[in-house]
């Protein structure tokens, strides 16, 4: 397990796919847990419509997870040492492709969700 989350070397395509799936599953689980917790904590007394509040909470959830993920990345790089980060080597990128997927995916997801929230609270919308 430690190899999956703290090893940045590329071994095989099978391992790579396994690693990406594992990252996605863990990220999904963590997002759900954070979201569930935040829905019970923040915006409880807000007078906005419930759906809007829940969507706002989800954006905060992504943000919170993003912070956690960045902390994890820092720990990852610290443990592997500066010498293992070969930024000019294509193989290095194959090793961190799971991390990159989550990083970019989170950002993209945040903007997609914020855009859909904007659409809902648009004054011309009856919803």
């Amino acid at each position: 397990m430690e190899n999956i989350f703290f090893d940045i070397g590329y071994t095989s395509l099978t391992d790579l796919l396994f690693k990406v799936i594992a990252f996605l599953l863990v990220s999904g689980l963590l997002l759900y847990v954070i979201y569930l917790a935040l829905t019970k904590i923040i915006f409880r007394k807000n007078k906005h419509r419930k759906e809007i509040n829940l969507r706002l909470v989800f954006l905060w959830t992504i943000f919170a997870y993003f912070i956690l993920f960045n902390v994890y990345i820092f720990v990852l790089f610290y443990r592997n040492g500066i010498d293992s980060l070969h930024w000019t080597n294509a193989k290095f990128y194959l090793g961190i492709i799971a991390h990159l997927t989550i990083y970019i995916g989170l950002l993209a997801y945040f903007f997609i969700k914020s855009h859909s929230l904007k659409k809902i609270i648009n004054e011309k919308s009856i919803n």
Binding site: K50, E51, S125, I126
Partner: protein, 802 residues
């Protein structure tokens, strides 16, 4: 000993004379008449109404309608033995307003009966009631004489006065059988410069004088069968004494320039009689009659030296009223706590947008409850049932069923049936906003802007609702509802256990949207009511004001204060009254010399205004104070339903006069002392009284038997005046008991009165031949070419006296 007196005015001139008498009485005693006097006014012109003094009006109006004249004629012919004076239907139908200058029409009006009432009965009732009133006072006051005196006044130039004046004398004799005296005071047209165009006036007057002369002769009896069933065959003349006056002076001095000046003189004469000179006159007249010095006809001369305190007070009060009313119609500024502030339209707009949001919230909140059932609680329960699957059919159909317009047992039906309560909230709150604005700013423009900006907010809201797809159409709502119901079943947030809250929230949103859909019609109606005035909307207490209401008020008030010139004909206004006062003061043809401590009317007015400002502490009065703490909006609305101009005019004038009076802004002026200092000018004025208001071809020699005296507030002062006159060799007014009359309340004026008699107008009036021509000959170029000589003469006759 005062005498119970009834004064009857006939026709429009009779009314104006009574108004002047009432006004003089008010100016002197601050009441409209003494308790032993009644004023009655009989008129054929429905639009004429008495104008009161600042404390109101005490002239009883008796309207004798000329509607359905053909039927009136037919009935009179049957019930009164076909009197020969009754005109032909085709003649009277062309009469026009009032009696139309046809004497027989005036007479017909008094005798007739139509759907508006029994004219003859109404006149009898009015005189009987007046008689009962003065006698009731009489019975409770030992200082009053036992027999009443009646004065009948009017002009003999029109149809009404010249038509009924003889009947009126006999009618009074019939009703008040113990009448001490029945006097006539009739106005004649002045000596004509040109008679062309005035033939009706002079012809009528001649016909009337001729008829009166006929009944004044013992050999001619008044024989009529009246509509009340009485048959009269009377030998006595209709009046003990008839006094004629016109705008002319006998000595050829320039005639009184206006008819209103003549009404003023007639009014002054009647006022002096009820104020106390009647008894003094009568003592002399009895002696004069015994010595054959008066006869059946008389006239008089009257002049006065006056400090016009009342006119100054009225002018100042009018100016103060204008200033205060001007605040109501000021379009750029308003007063708050006595400070002038600009009206900021942008800030009103901004605050009204916020206010309307609040009103909308309150109105929607009232729709949450129907017959003590809280619909929001009910919707909560329904959302729980949906999530628990305790419903029949699909959730989408269930939700549609809750809010669709096609059912009559759901939330849509309940809210729709309760929409009046939302309307009440809208109307009451909007009214409240306008009312608050009116009360705090006392400015009609401000209140109008508040209303206009609330309506703008409504329109903006409606436009927004339209943009999100809402309308008042039920079909449209049902289509939108389906989309919303489908949306409710998607993304339910069950994974985070928030599905109950989310569905409840979504159903509440649909409920709010449904309220908007149902309120659209109400809000559109409010806009239509306010902007176009097409419909009438009422809340729980008030009708919603309209912009038109404010526009009309502003227009009327501007006309009332003379800011614009859009006054209805005959309406009273401050500007008109100011002009009248100034015109009256500057009218040198009136035999009244106006004197002032500062030698100037305008200086006296300025001084009075300065004193007012000083003594009232420089504070600007509020409208609420003037209208005695009433609500301004209610007050104006109530006045709009009545005689707006007259009522507002009187309310404001009365309030300011009272204040000016209470603060004693104008001091009395001792006229006797003025006369002593300006004797020559005073003698010129006194001399005017010895020339009567009538051009008679006869020299009136002074007679000690006829009334000639000076009236003032103190006998000693009058004696001083007469002494000053004697010192200048002026002796027309004798310094004897008979030559002086003290009326202690008659401040600021000294009146010179001289009565003449023993003439016969039908022969002695200097222009009687011109009048006879006008009576006899049809003028050329009349609009109605069918008028024959006979018909012309018939129109100028009302009694069978040939």
């Amino acid at each position: 000993m005062a005498t119970p007196t009834i004064i009857i005015g006939i026709g429009t001139s009779g009314l104006y004379t009574l108004e002047n008498a009432q006004r003089f009485y008010y100016e002197t005693y601050k009441t409209n008449k003494p308790r032993n006097v009644e004023f009655i006014y009989i008129e054929t012109n429905e639009s004429n109404r008495p104008v009161g003094t600042p404390i109101g009006n005490d002239i009883t109006r008796v309207y004798i309608s000329l509607d359905n004249m053909a039927e009136m004629i037919a009935e009179l012919k049957t019930s009164c033995n076909n009197p020969s004076w009754v005109p032909e239907s085709r003649v009277v139908l062309a009469a026009g307003l009032g009696a139309g200058g046809i004497r027989a029409c005036g007479r017909l009006a008094m005798w007739g009966r139509n759907q508006k009432g029994d004219n003859f009965g109404n006149v009898i009732n009015a005189i009987t009631n007046a008689y009962a009133k003065v006698m009731h006072i009489n019975n409770n006051d030992a200082n009053l004489a036992a027999q009443p005196t009646v004065f009948v006044t009017g002009s003999l130039t029109g149809g009404t006065g010249a038509g009924v004046f003889i009947d009126m004398g006999y009618l009074v004799r019939h009703i008040i059988q113990n009448a001490k005296d029945i006097y006539g005071l009739f106005l004649l047209p002045q000596e004509p410069k040109v008679i062309r165009g005035f033939e009706v006036m002079y012809g009528n007057a001649y016909g009337a004088i001729k008829d009166l002369e006929h009944y004044n002769k013992v050999e001619n009896n008044y024989k009529e069968k009246w509509p009340n069933g009485f048959t009269k065959d009377l030998e006595a003349p209709p009046y003990e004494l008839v006094q004629f006056i016109s705008q002319d002076y006998q000595d050829g001095a320039p005639a009184i320039s206006t008819l209103s000046g003549l009404y003023k003189m007639a009014g002054l004469y009647l006022f002096l009689n009820i104020a106390g000179i009647y008894e003094k006159r009568r003592e002399r007249l009895v002696d004069a009659a015994g010595n054959s010095l008066i006869g059946k006809y008389g006239t008089f001369g009257l002049s006065a030296i006056q400090f016009p305190k009342d006119q100054i007070q009225e002018l100042v009060s009018s100016q103060l009223s204008i200033e205060l009313l001007h605040r109501l119609t000021e379009s750029t500024e308003y007063y708050l706590n006595g400070q002038k502030r600009p009206i900021s339209r942008a800030s009103i707009k901004q605050s009204m947008a916020v206010v309307f949001d609040g009103i909308l919230e309150s109105a929607f909140a009232t729709l949450n409850t129907v017959e003590a059932r809280d619909l929001l609680v009910s919707i909560d329960k329904d959302s729980t049932r949906i999530n628990k699957g305790e419903i029949k059919g699909s959730p989408v159909e269930f939700i549609i069923g809750m809010f669709t317009s096609t059912r009559n047992d759901n939330y849509h039906a309940m809210v729709n049936n309760n929409i009046k309560s939302a309307l009440n909230v809208f109307v009451d709150n909007i009214y409240q906003q306008v009312d608050n604005a009116m009360e705090s700013t006392e400015n009609l423009y401000y209140a109008k802007y508040v209303l206009e900006d609330i309506v703008e907010s409504i329109e903006r809201t409606l436009s927004y609702w339209k943009s999100i797809g809402l309308s008042s159409q039920t079909q449209n709502w049902d289509n939108e509802l389906r989309k919303l119901a489908i949306g409710c079943t998607k993304s339910t947030y069950k994974s985070v256990f928030e599905h109950d809250a989310v569905l409840k929230d979504r159903l509440n949103t649909i409920f709010e949207l449904m309220k908007m859909h149902l309120s659209i019609r109400v809000l559109v109606d409010i806009c239509k009511h306010v902007r176009e005035g097409q419909i009438k909307l009422e809340g729980s207490n008030h009708e919603l004001p309209k912009l038109q209401f404010f526009d009309e008020l502003i227009k009327k008030l501007n006309a009332l204060i003379g800011k614009t010139d859009e006054l209805e004909n005959g309406s009273i206004s401050f500007a008109r009254r100011l002009n009248d006062i100034k015109g009256d003061i500057n009218d040198t043809t009136l035999p009244i010399l106006r004197v002032y401590p500062s030698n100037s009317f305008s200086k006296e007015c300025e001084k009075a205004k300065e004193t007012y400002t000083q003594r009232s502490g420089g504070n600007v009065r509020s409208i609420t104070e003037v209208i005695q703490q009433q609500n301004i909006l209610n007050y104006l609305k109530q006045k709009q339903g009545g005689k707006f101009n007259e009522e507002i005019y009187l309310d404001f004038l009365k309030a300011f006069r009272l204040k000016v009076d209470t603060l004693n802004c104008i001091e009395d002026f001792n006229i006797a002392s003025y006369i002593r200092n300006s004797t020559e000018e005073s003698i010129r004025t006194a001399r005017k009284a010895t020339s009567p208001f009538l051009k008679i071809n006869r020299v009136f020699t002074p007679s000690p038997y006829l009334p000639r005296f000076v009236v003032g507030d103190d006998t000693n002062e009058i004696t001083d005046v007469l002494t000053a006159f004697r010192n200048q060799n002026y002796n027309d007014f004798p310094d004897t008991i008979d030559g002086k009359k003290e009326l202690t309340d008659l401040k600021n004026i000294v009146v010179f009165y001289d009565e003449k008699g023993n003439f016969i107008p039908i022969t002695d009036l200097s222009y009687i031949n011109l009048m006879k021509d006008a009576y006899t000959n049809v003028p050329s170029g009349l609009a109605d070419e069918n008028i024959t000589s006979e018909r012309w003469k018939n129109n100028r006759s009302a009694y069978t006296t040939n």
